[in-house]
């Protein structure tokens, strides 16, 4: 009796499970939505007004905040439904956000990775769903799921930074030799080593011929990198460099990979009682534009966000209409495949050309007063 009761219940439970299972039937070879994706992608494009996902690393620096608002505006104006999200510099958060964008039926994903190597699984999921993937500002590495990357040439950016540093030293510090220090960006960002490589292409010959002296002797990227691009980390490193190597020396210049780090280094030098060294930067952040105008920071390298977004929009429009992508400026191997790169050339901004460079940007012009 006991056994039969038990058996009845188990049987009932199992049949319930099976009946639930049996009422499926929606499970095709591929889901209807992505099936149509792939079909249309093959024959050309996708519906105008589709959802476009934009995944940004964080909003902690001005260029990303600008990208967030400008992407939303540009995509809305072009008639798309934008989902623009930033991930607070946390890789798992970015992975989940991209998955949510896939869920939301995005046709194109624009991805600016926190760490270019850590999105493999989710990007392949997107690719399997027929979604096109555009890397924005940083290379997507270690995956086959990337269709194009738009960015400012990162080696070129580094070269421009190196040249700006040399020009600044000649302008402000008279004849050499100059005492300099080197800083790199966040190693997890695939651009950071490239910036450094580009800059060293310009600076290494001058170090070799004695025009530049790296007093601390730290010239390897792993020695000079600034984890997470963190300003406070850079400031601490500069303070200890000054305390350790510059008790009886003057520092003339510092290679700085971005504006935040440049300002941190200026602060560290002021605190140590040094004259302001020549520093360059990146991104033309408002605070640095003011600093340049006041004659402190020597230069910044601008990678104007509107131009990069315009470039990305060209690619999205081409994907939408189903046309071939325009020819890339170059390709880069990301560890798995050769990725087409669409690169723009950055602009150096110093006090001398600031007004002219920002002629079309009333918000920045406002700062130059």
């Amino acid at each position: 009796m006991k056994l039969t009761k038990k058996a009845v219940v188990i049987a009932a439970a199992i049949s319930l499970g099976l009946s639930l299972a049996a009422c499926s039937g929606t499970r095709g070879e591929t889901p209807p939505q992505s099936a149509s994706n792939e079909a249309t992608a093959a024959t050309g494009g996708f519906e105008a007004g589709s959802t476009i996902g934009v995944s940004l690393p964080w909003l902690g620096t001005q260029n990303w905040k600008e990208a967030e608002t400008q992407f939303a505006t540009a995509l809305t104006e072009a008639g798309y439904k934008p989902i623009v999200q930033a991930a607070d510099n946390k890789v798992p958060q970015q992975q989940s956000q991209i998955e949510a964008m896939i869920e939301s039926g995005a046709k194109v994903l624009v991805v600016a990775p926190i760490d270019g190597k850590q999105l493999g699984t989710v990007l392949e999921k997107a690719k399997d769903a027929g979604i096109k993937i555009i890397g924005y500002d940083r290379l997507l590495e270690n995956t086959t799921a990337v269709d194009a990357v738009t960015q400012y040439g990162s080696i070129e950016t580094g070269r421009v930074q190196g040249e700006a540093l040399l020009a600044g030293l000649a302008e402000r510090k008279g004849a050499g030799p100059y005492n300099i220090e080197l800083f790199g960006g966040g190693p997890a960002d695939p651009n950071a080593p490239n910036f450094f490589t580009g800059a060293m292409e310009v600076l290494q010959p001058k170090i070799d011929d004695g025009t530049l002296v790296v007093v601390s002797g730290q010239v390897e990227f792993t020695q000079v990198a600034t984890a997470e691009w963190d300003n406070a980390t850079a400031q601490k490193r500069m303070e200890s460099l000054l305390a350790g190597n510059y008790q009886d020396k003057k520092i003339d210049g510092v290679l700085t990979p971005n504006d935040g780090i440049a300002r941190a280094i200026l602060t560290a030098c002021e605190d140590a009682g040094q004259d302001i060294p020549v520093v360059d930067g990146l991104d033309a952040e408002d605070e640095s534009v003011v600093s340049i105008w006041e004659g402190k920071q020597y230069a910044t390298v601008a990678k104007p966000t509107p131009e990069l977004i315009a470039q990305t929009m060209v690619l999205i429009q081409a994907l939408q209409s189903g046309a071939e992508l325009p020819p890339p400026t170059s390709t880069a191997n990301n560890g798995k495949i050769d990725v087409p790169l669409y690169e723009l050339t950055p602009v150096v901004i110093t006090k001398a050309n600031a007004k002219q460079a920002f002629a079309d940007d009333p918000a920045k012009l406002e700062l130059l007063k």
Partner: protein, 424 residues
């Protein structure tokens, strides 16, 4: 109304968070236009949060013994990085590298356990040190550069179970799991009822059957949801690992001597010691277990991310701690269960997923998650202090006395942080 209580058994208060969880899922499903309850979203939900939930199991036990482990994120990141380096630079096969990572986790746990149990340094401080040591360690051994992980690990981090057998319209592996789960639940419930009857319990059979049917409906629906995704997808492998761990740790904490010891030590260390519990041993094992689970979470995350990064694991400890407290654990120790912790973790995961589906930014998501944590714990504390029933209790007119915990033990959790370090 009394019958509803009989069906669910015990105190309805413990179901508050379950109901919150269901309400969140349904609410987000409606608000997002039907994008929440989809196979792929739920697959993502489990693969994307399995690592936090696994950490939360260990963290629950650490919190129950009255300590806290701040190092789990760093340990997870460190072990994940070691796995990637072993595979790439030492040429170990993927399983060898993963094994090294897990053993390293045990070793790290023994290190923490040594300082906590033998030297008597509070867990908060021991693991704060561990957090720095192992975060620095990750950056050191990796030169702050991400390192690709063996491809095979992806199976554990985001893989699916195989397809086989006849075309049932579902993933057959998932279907099989569902049937096993349903059979197990039915057997356990009826067995329990039989045992209880022999010891004189008056619970009628129909309440047990209703409970079994309800549980089976939930499991059946879950099996259907997970099984009906794209061909090639199933109940995710990290989810399966999690379920196995939940079952194992549920049994360990509820049915073994060690399990009783951690609650005894956390509830009243002196009394536990006097009644013969080996307190240092309990501390030691709990810390070893925590770091082992951290290593496992780290390896699974590396599998999902396809490479190990220098900032893997930052703030994971806080996510795990939040899950434990939303699950109703007490800051003073002695209270908390594996299943409630999982519900707490899932509340956070569903919130995160739902807000992302709605396109809410990470800034506002953080604010909302913070408020939910505070509200969940405040609600719990309020209930315990007032000796009142939860909203659910009121709804169902549950007139019986509350949980066995004394009001003192409960109200001490009203001041989070005040008693993080138990007196030595």
């Amino acid at each position: 109304m009394k019958s509803i209580k009989e069906i669910f058994g015990g105190d309805l208060r413990q179901y508050t968070m379950v109901i919150v969880l269901i309400a969140l899922i349904v609410g987000f499903h409606i608000a997002s236009g039907g994008r929440m309850l989809t196979p792929s979203n739920f697959q993502n939900l489990l693969s994307g949060n399995a690592y936090v939930l696994i950490l939360a199991i260990g963290m629950m036990m650490v919190i129950v013994i009255g300590h806290i482990d701040l190092s789990v994120g760093s340990v997870a990141g460190f072990c994940g990085m070691v796995v990637a380096i072993c595979a790439r630079d030492l040429g170990l096969p993927w399983w060898g590298a993963a094994l090294v990572g897990l053993l390293l986790g045990v070793a790290v746990g023994a290190w923490h356990g040594f300082w906590l149990a033998k030297v008597g340094i509070p867990g908060f401080i021991t693991t704060l040190a561990g957090m720095m040591i192992f975060r620095g360690g990750v950056i050191w051994i990796s030169n702050s550069i991400s390192i690709p992980a063996p491809d095979e690990l992806r199976f554990f981090g985001s893989g699916s179970l195989p397809e086989w057998g006849p075309d049932t319209g579902l993933n057959n592996s998932t279907l099989l799991l569902g049937i096993i789960a349903i059979a197990a639940v039915a057997w356990l419930q009826l067995n329990g009822w039989n045992k209880a009857k022999r010891t004189g319990s008056q619970t009628p059979l129909w309440t047990v059957i209703t409970r079994v049917v309800l549980l089976c409906a939930v499991i059946g629906y879950a099996a259907y949801l997970y099984g009906s995704g794209l061909v090639g997808t199933s109940f995710p492998v990290p989810g399966l690992i999690l379920v196995v761990l939940v079952i194992v740790y549920h049994i360990v904490t509820e049915r073994t001597a060690y399990g009783r010891h951690i609650y005894a030590v956390g509830g009243n260390k002196a009394a536990a010691a006097l009644s013969g519990v080996n307190v240092p041993k309990t501390y030691f094992l709990t810390m070893v277990n925590m770091s082992f689970l951290a290593a496992l979470a780290g390896v699974m995350f590396v599998g999902r991310a396809t490479s190990a990064g220098p900032s893997d694991g930052v703030n994971w400890e806080l996510d795990a701690i939040a899950a434990v407290f939303i699950g109703g654990a007490a800051v003073s120790g002695g209270i908390g269960t594996v299943v409630a912790t999982m519900v707490g973790g899932l509340v956070m995961a569903v919130l995160n997923s739902g807000l992302m589906l709605l396109g809410v930014g990470s800034d506002k998501t953080q604010v909302i998650k913070g408020l939910v944590l505070l509200a969940a714990v405040a609600f719990d504390v309020y209930n315990k202090r007032q000796g009142k029933k939860s909203i659910i209790g009121h709804l169902f007119g549950n007139r019986e006395s509350g949980k066995p915990e004394s009001p003192d033990a409960a109200s001490s959790s009203a001041v989070p942080g005040a008693k993080e370090l138990p007196t030595q």
